[in-house]
Structure formats: C-alpha cells, structure tokens
C-alpha cells in the first residue's frame, strides 16, 4: 500500500523513520545479518528504533540511544509489540555514551552523523 508520508517527519519526528529504507534493506547492503549475528550492537541516534529492532532477531544484545525522549518512548513501544527482549533503548547523546570501554562489537550511525 502506498502511504503519503508528507509531513510525517515534521509533525511526528519519532516516526520519521518511515521515510528511511527498510532495516532489512540497509542491513543487506552492509553485508547481511551476519554482520550483527550474535554480536553486541549499539544504534546511536536510533530514533524510533528502526535499525535497532531490525538487528534484534540476529544480535545477542542491541542498545538504541537517542536524545529525543519521544523517539525513545516510541522505540520501547515498538520493541514491546515485537517482543524484542534483547533490545534496550535509552535517552542519551552520541558524545557521552554510558557504557564500558570496548563493550560493543558493532556501532551503527545510521543517518546520524
């Protein structure tokens, strides 16, 4: 179904990922699910969790971080809907990530820099 997306990013920033590629498409371009399989992944600037949730079926642990509390609320709701138990979302900024040194295998900066 074709859905008009005009105004989505403006009116509902947390939903702006509707304007982005499907996570499976992006992941395929980066090398496929093997890139994140059984890995610890962090999605910095995760928005509503598009890529983080796309990685969740393959990764051992996924963390999504975004400065927008509304986006994080939306991401958590989507994770609950999907039953993605290995994903956590938290409000934060890319310059100060509250994680130990060398904790992650993969850092995603998808539409973030």
């Amino acid at each position: 179904m074709v859905t008009s997306t005009s105004g989505v990013g403006r009116l509902f920033p947390a939903l702006s990922s509707q304007l982005r590629p499907q996570p499976a498409t992006e992941l395929r371009e980066y090398g496929g699910p093997g890139l994140v399989r059984r890995k610890r992944v962090i999605d910095v600037g995760c928005g509503d969790g598009r890529m983080a949730l796309g990685c969740a079926p393959y990764a051992s642990e996924v963390v999504g971080v975004d400065p927008d509390p509304d986006a994080i609320r939306s991401a958590r709701a989507r994770a609950r809907e999907l039953g993605a138990a290995n994903v956590k979302f938290r409000v934060g900024v890319a310059q100060h990530l509250p994680f130990a040194d060398e904790h992650f295998d993969i850092v995603l900066l998808s539409w973030t820099l």
């Binding site: 074709v2 997306t5 304007l19 090398g31 890319a94 990530l97 992650f104 295998d105 850092v107 998808s110």
Partner: protein
C-alpha cells in the same frame, strides 16, 4: 561529530565495526511517477539544499579526522537507492516544501501537460544513501 566518533571508538572492541550511513548528497535525487504497472518513470531531478551539503561535508571531515587519527580504518564503502513514497504529486511537493534536505523545486524533465496528467498517480522520491564500514583500530 569528531567527539561522537571518539566515543564510538571507546565503546567498540578492537576490530569491531562502525557503520556510517547517510543520504548521499553528491548525486541528485529523482522525482518519479509510478505507472499502473508498478514501474517508476523519472520525471525530474531534486538537488540537495546548500546548508545540507555543508553539513554533509562537515560529517565527511569528521570521519576523515577519525581515520587520520588512527581510530578507524575503512573496510568498505558503497551506495544504495531507496524510494520515499507519496500518494500523489501534491503530497510529494508538500514533503519537499517542508523537508530541509532538498531544494523545494523539482527540475522537471517532463512537460507540464504530462505532469498534470500524472497529478493523482503515486509518486516517489528516489534518493541515494552512502555508507562506509570502518574497523576499530
């Protein structure tokens, strides 16, 4: 941006992978009309707004700094395309009017009469995404 890359370096294990993906502003995006058969036909070109070009260059410089500083080394880079879909041409134009990334005017390659005929058909903006995989040193 460099601070964010330094932080990414800190939390990544050695030989971990950083994926940077962003809209590709070095190529034009395209306005496309979807035919009843489902195929798309290019109808115009859409340039990136000047301020976004400057932002993208700043991101490029930050990444170059991270590589030059010895935090990361490039493994692979590429580009792919995706479509943002709209119910009709006015929906696409509303999006362009509001969206800061693109200039608001499409540079049309089809005649006004053709555009009017296609007004209520589905449209899409086909845009490029660039990406790079970098290994944490």
């Amino acid at each position: 941006m460099v601070d964010a890359l330094k932080e990414a370096h800190r939390i990544l294990r050695p030989r971990g992978i950083l994926v940077d993906a962003r809209p590709e502003s070095r190529v034009l995006a395209y306005a496309e009309r979807q035919a009843p058969t489902g195929s798309y036909r290019r109808a115009g070109a859409i340039a990136t707004a000047r301020v976004e070009l400057a932002n993208d260059r700043t991101s490029d410089r930050a990444l170059a700094t991270a590589v030059r500083s010895g935090w990361f080394r490039s493994l692979r880079a590429g580009r792919f395309w995706h479509r943002v879909l709209f119910e009709d041409r006015s929906g696409m134009q509303d999006y362009l009017d509001d969206h800061p990334r693109f200039v608001h005017r499409v540079k049309w390659i089809v005649e006004p009469a053709t555009r009017r005929k296609w007004e209520r058909d589905p449209w899409a903006i086909r845009r490029a995404v660039r990406f790079e995989l970098l290994e944490r040193v």
